[in-house]
């Protein structure tokens, strides 16, 4: 075959390396890696930095695999939603078969390597997370029920538990609280997005809450979950990984989160349409910052404990 034949036979949009990176959902991966790092650092067992780095690479690879498999499964609805139409598969830059192969290979690699680098508990949790995100959420719940985010959100809540398991080899009340924090944060975060992307989801036939129950019910649910989240987010203050700095920071962050949810709840769709869903968009943006800062507080407390600055006699209820 000549070079000329090679170039004639290749698709017009042959992928670059960056397209494969995009297939792994790097923004989601960033949040996964950060929360896993927090679980790993906050745990009461010191992990060698090289082992910690290798474990995080495996967790990141697992998250990337989930992203690729999710994009492979959702390629039909991604093509009709404005937010996702430019993803590598619907835009024609990456073939669906390539995405599937990358997802499966990366998932296997990530789980086996994490088992070898860290321990079987962490590897088992990572395998379950990938299964939960791809099969339970993407393939089953997402198109079947408006509660898709409530149950499927658990997939995004596992990373700090995996990080904790890398360090300790097990599960503890502290890692379960971190799990609960993300699981309860996910519904208001995504429903705020769904409020201003309602038409997108309706066109794709995804039964997000605003599509099936309407914006009023969604606003009620956003406030309800914010109210549930606040005590759960503050509870770790009175555990081995918390302290006064965490408590003070969590109080401020949850007050702001509640204020945002309250603002969404008290207005109707006409007001939202009038200002282009400004309140909902602001709350969605803040909710990402909220999670980063909330988990950043765990890091601050870990640093204080490491420096011997944690106050003696701070109550631990778990």
């Amino acid at each position: 075959m000549t070079d000329a034949a090679w170039t004639h036979d290749t698709p017009a949009h042959e992928a670059q390396f960056a397209d494969y990176v995009e297939l792994l959902k790097p923004r989601v991966m960033r949040l996964v890696l950060f929360t896993a790092l927090v679980g790993l650092v906050a745990a009461p067992v010191v992990v060698h930095p090289v082992i910690a780095l290798a474990a995080l690479v495996c967790i990141g690879a697992g998250a990337g695999a989930s992203g690729a498999l999710n994009m492979w499964w959702d390629r039909d609805i991604d093509a009709v939603m404005a937010r996702t139409a430019d993803r590598p598969i619907p835009s024609g830059r990456v073939a669906p078969e390539a995405a599937l192969a990358i997802g499966i290979t990366l998932a296997g690699f990530a789980v086996v390597m994490l088992g070898l680098v860290a321990n079987l508990t962490a590897a088992g949790l990572l395998a379950f997370t990938i299964f939960f995100y791809v099969v339970v959420y993407s393939a089953w719940l997402k198109r079947a029920t408006p509660q898709n985010i409530v149950i499927g959100g658990a997939a995004g809540a596992f990373p700090p538990m995996i990080g904790w398991a890398v360090a300790t080899g097990g599960v503890a009340p502290e890692s379960l609280l971190m799990f609960a924090l993300i699981a309860l944060w996910t519904p208001p975060h995504f429903w705020a997005l769904a409020l201003f992307r309602n038409a997108d989801y309706a066109r794709a036939g995804v039964p997000m809450l605003p599509v099936t129950a309407g914006p009023r019910a969604t606003r009620n649910q956003v406030l309800a979950y914010a109210l549930l989240l606040a005590p759960v987010a503050m509870a770790p203050a009175f555990s081995l990984v918390g302290g006064p700095v965490y408590l003070a920071g969590a109080l401020v962050l949850n007050a702001l989160f509640l204020r945002g949810a309250w603002r969404i709840w008290r207005r109707d769709e006409a007001a939202a349409q009038a200002d282009g869903h400004a309140v909902e968009k602001r709350f969605f943006g803040f909710s990402i910052l909220y999670l980063f800062l909330q988990f950043g507080l765990f890091l601050v407390e870990a640093a204080l404990r490491g420096a011997g600055l944690a106050p003696a006699g701070w109550p631990s209820l778990f």
């Binding site: 000549t2 070079d3 000329a4 090679w6 170039t7 290749t10 042959e14 992928a15 670059q16 390396f17 960056a18 494969y20 990176v21 060698h48 090289v50 082992i51 780095l53 290798a54 690479v57 680098v117």
Partner: protein, 61 residues
Amino acid sequence: MRPDKHEIYGRRRSRNVGLGLVLGGLVLLIFAVTLVKLHQGAMMEGFDHGLRPSLLPAEEG
């Protein structure tokens, strides 16, 4: 246009260089993990034709 000037080669080069860097980084990472595990006293055994100390009776191991 000469075939080697086609923009498709730029895309392929980006894929090859990217994959090369990822695989190189992975080799270095696994090497570093091996060094750390050995340093921490992890048991190293051959799984083909070598003796496996963990399978021997305690007095012979």
